[in-house]
Amino acid sequence: MRSLIDINKSNLADTSQSSVGLGGVGRSKKHESADKHVSGAAIYIDDRPELRGQLHAAVGQSTMAHANIISMDLSAVKAAEGVIAVITVNDVPGHTDIGPVFPGDPVLAIGKVEFVGQPLFAVAATSHELANRAVKLAKVEYEELEAILTVKEALAKQSFVRPPFSMVRGDSDKAIASALHQISGEINVGGQEHFYLEGQISSAEPTEEGGMSVFSSSQHPSEVQKLVAEVLDIPLNKVVVDTRRMGGGFGGKETQAAPWACIAALLANVSKRPIKFKLNRSDDMCMTGKRHPFENNYSVGFDKDGQIKGINITVNGNCGYSPDLSDAIVDRAMFHSDNAYFLDQATVTGNRCKLNTVSHTAYRGFGGPQGMMTIEMVMDDIARYLGKDPLAIRKVNLYGTDDRNETHYHQKVEHNKIHELIASLEESSDYHARRESVSEFNRENTILKKGLALTPVKFGISFTVQHLNQAGALIHLYTDGTILVSHGGTEMGQGLYTKVAQIVAEEFQVDSETVGVSSTRTDKVPNTSPTAASSGTDLNGKAAQAAAIIIKDRLIEFATEKYEVKASEVRFANSQIHVGTDTFSFADFVQQAYIGRVSLSATGFYKTPKIHFDRATGKGRPFFYYSTGAAVSEVLIDTLTGEYKLLRADILHDVGHSLNPAIDIGQIEGAFIQGMGWLTTEELVWNDKGRLLSNNPATYKIPAISDAPIDFRVTLVPDDPNREQTIYNSKAVGEPPFMLGISVWSALKDAISSVSNYTLSPSLDTPATPERVLWAVEAMKANQ
């Protein structure tokens, strides 16, 4: 018989004497991979050992935005050095469309192309370089078709990827007309390249019986599994997808990781050899979708205090050539067209414009940020119209606690703490004194001007597609007392694995160091949702907790039977299990349970309660709860060049009962800077042929280190548990603080407005590059 592991000789630290409480929920545990990150030992897909016979993939790309393919001569490609296999869509045994929700995304072009960069054919060669040299040798003949390259053209031609849709509350036209004041405006909100530091990458290895083992840098392994199975025309149970970690995701690997996994699998299937497919950075930037650019407009009616009485908002999303996730993204832009403000009588309309560009996709905030920009512009515009501080206008429009608390989609805003939060931030950031000193600075300086703005964020938490709000987890207890947890969530740096380990450790009251989290694999936990919508911990943490409770209950039942005690006399604490008057180490008791033939493995499941939304009526409760926060930004601009700098940022953000304050603060800081980048230096430029010109980091500028403000103060709302029963009453944190970056844009407008002595509201499309800031300053001067 196999003997059990000797616990005393195992290398687990004896923590029973530790004075620190175990578990770890609420503590700033370091990221589970931190030591590996800093020493280069963390393994990303490109770091995996090369398999015997492994080949490298590349794809040939469309050079036209919209064209029929007349002919494709691949003879030189096939003859090129190192090339082993070349495939077109004709070599796909199964589905040729890999659209994630709606059809429209051919895995390789079928007769026509709809954007510059669309994959035409794929090559497997003996090295990355040879594959990339070979794809350049194709001779493709096109018949050019008319391309739609602007939102205005798409609207004029009613070119949509999905039908328009409105959310209506009351009679907005009437309310606007009968209000004391009316104004209107429009804004172009730019898109955003994800610029995850690790580019898109997948590898595929054929397995027995025509199956495929796939490693994918993906936020959605289950979808990769499904699409690989479909393109190969094999059942799901023959495909395994493994994602240990991503070098950043931000939404860019929710649907956009799948094409490269599918192409790798197709090439592996044809060549019968393992394939690695790593996108070159500039190809990644041209071939994968980005945050949707939007062109929005509004007309609003308001009273003497600036309180909104009625509003019409139209958001026009540039979806690119296919639906991808655009239906839900434009929905979320519409859901967040109120931000934290009561719109009263409102009509919010969303158009999903089809253009001949890459298909735009999920990006942190998922349309929410683009929706919020319109209403924040409205706040600034009303303030300048009435000659008031924009903060006063924002405050007078906030959702009420007892009344004025229903959104334009008829969800009640409950547990609303935004008033206290803003009041607290006004005080901690010294807003009013700084408003004075900014005004004084601006009186004394002609070239440089300062701006200050406080903007709030209210962000709805849940997938607005109800069925995605579910998760599974699998926990194993081993006989040395260690625990291994698997769940459907993926790790992209956000600390999900760390938080889940803390949750499981908390349930068993053991040191979270003894809880291992395995890579996310479709054969461990099936049918998972994407790690997206800030929901990773809410969903997977709850599922892991459910699994832990099942095993705990079994251990308690075993204890009551073996030691003849009541269940209430069994207690987990300090890596020990107390049974009546006896105390066993956790590992010892697990061994007893094993000998007693107790199952030490369980799955857990969770689905978010309360949520529903009826798209036909535009009514429901799409969100389980709201996450809130606010930021104050102070900027300095140069009125001769448009250059600017963020001088100071103060943030107060609500994460409920924080599972890990250090990780949550890291999320908030990172999201804020990423949001600032979106609205300032990150400019996507396409030429009049639909080709992306900002296709590398030399031309597309994400924030660098000196863009972080010297004075950067981030505070969590002091422990204030989520009133909804979320995991340990925490709140999601991934996306909401991204929109705190809007305060930087509003502060830039404040500085620009000072040139008109605050009488004019500058029109400032985003990204607010130095060039756009200079033109806005010039417009102030011209209208003086």
């Binding site: 370091k30 990221h31 931190a34 990150h37 800093v38 020493s39 280069g40 030992a41 990303y44 490109d46 770091d47 050992p49 990339n132 040299r133 350049k136 610029f195 995850y196 530091l197 970690r245 991503m246 070098g247 950043g248 995701g249 070159n280 950075r281 300086n445 070239i447 440089l448 300095l636 601009i637 140069d638 001769l640 060049t641 250059e643 250090a662 603060i665 890291g666 800081e669 990172g670 999201a671 804020f672 800077i673 990423q674 430029v685 900002s694 590398n696 980091p697 030399a698 031309t699 994400i702 924030p703 660098a704 280190i705 000196s706 863009d707 972080a708 130095p770 060039e771 200079l774 033109w775």
Partner: protein, 485 residues
Amino acid sequence: MTISTVRFLLNNEVVTLENTDPNLTVLQYLREKQFNTGTKEGCCSGDCGACTVVVAELIPNKKDLDYKSINSCISFVGSLHGKQLITVEDLQDGANLHHVQQSMVDNHASQCGFCTPGFVMSSFALHKVNSQPSRAEVVEALAGNLCRCTGYRSIIDAAMASSEHAKPDSFTLHYQQTVQQLSEFKALPSASLSDHQHSYFAPKNVSELATKLIEQPSAVLVAGGTDLALSVTQNFNIIDDLVYLGDVDELRVLENSDTQFVIGSAVPYNEFTPMLHDEYHELGEMIERIGSRQVRNNGTLGGNVGNASPIGDMPPALIALGAEMVLQRGDVERKIAVEDFFIAYKRTVLQESEFINRFYIPKAKPGQFLKLYKISKRIDDDISAVLAAFFIEIKDNVVTDLRLAFGGMAGIPMRAKQCEAALLNKPLNQENISAAQQALAHDFQPMSDVRASDKYRMKVAQNLMQKCYLELKNRNIETRVVSYA
């Protein structure tokens, strides 16, 4: 003759490379030949810093080492000859993390972790030369490393706090041994490398270089490689024959006399910048923004001028300063004004087999000012939309001499002659500045591209003249959002 090898230290192991394609980058060498995958590929264009490694090299004529962060993705493997290559895997001592690594952990400074090895190496290089860096010094040293997750605050804190747990690392313990080994490598004949299809040669003196170029005019010169390497890593081109300039003694000359500076064409920015900074403060600070520290550790003046890009930042500055350059072919030298080097977009007066030897930069005389303005979307490591370099001599409030040079305004870096004429021998006042601004519109017809529109380029160039005027008139007013250029 030469030996067909490249020899360097990989951490503390001697490596001798033979029969290797010289197009191989240091990053490819590490990941694909050594299977050291700790160093990451983020962009393969020297823009993100994920691939940062450190090279230690002997300081000329000293028994001391300099530790430099470089982008391994755009460094050819031949350039390692005579140096020590240090990667993220080499820092820890057994199970103990190096203090720059431990500080990153303690400060929660990694999230996805992909950029982290690069930050660790940049921070390591900084701490090797500066154990108590200020925030500004940290920001300067890490400006070439992009992080998309953290927002940088935690990384800055980590780099500043690293010294709290500092203790001598293996590089300090092996210092003398390393110096000894690198000195021995230095004494070797000129390095070369070949895979029988592609060649690499690193002459040790100008005579070897000149002879090589006469023999093989098609050979491609590489110094820092910060631009050239992109042709290999981005476009998948192959360079048949490379000639590396970094080992040519005469091209590393640095002289600082009473009247001028002499800078060899292959001197990296970070070696000549301190000297220029003392004389021309704004030039020193502008160079900090020309490229990241990694780029400036490799990039050279000869490269920036020689590649004749219309958006290089040094040419307008050199033209404004009236700098000269010496070109050499065989053993024949000729000296020309930098201004006369450029003919048209990406075309220069350089003849076949000719190379840039050195630059002469005059020092300022009383009454002479150099004003520099670099306009870009991002402050750090961004190519200019417009670079304005104004050299003005003022006597009794009259402009007695001036050269106004611009980058980004035309197909080559060039002077605004009509604009200059509007100011020369005239009082420095608003009226004449306004006239000069008008004249600028006759000097240039800038273009629109990914960085800026034609209209913005013209408007901002005109506004910079106004700014220069206001700054010269009143040295105390605040006119810049950043403390430099």
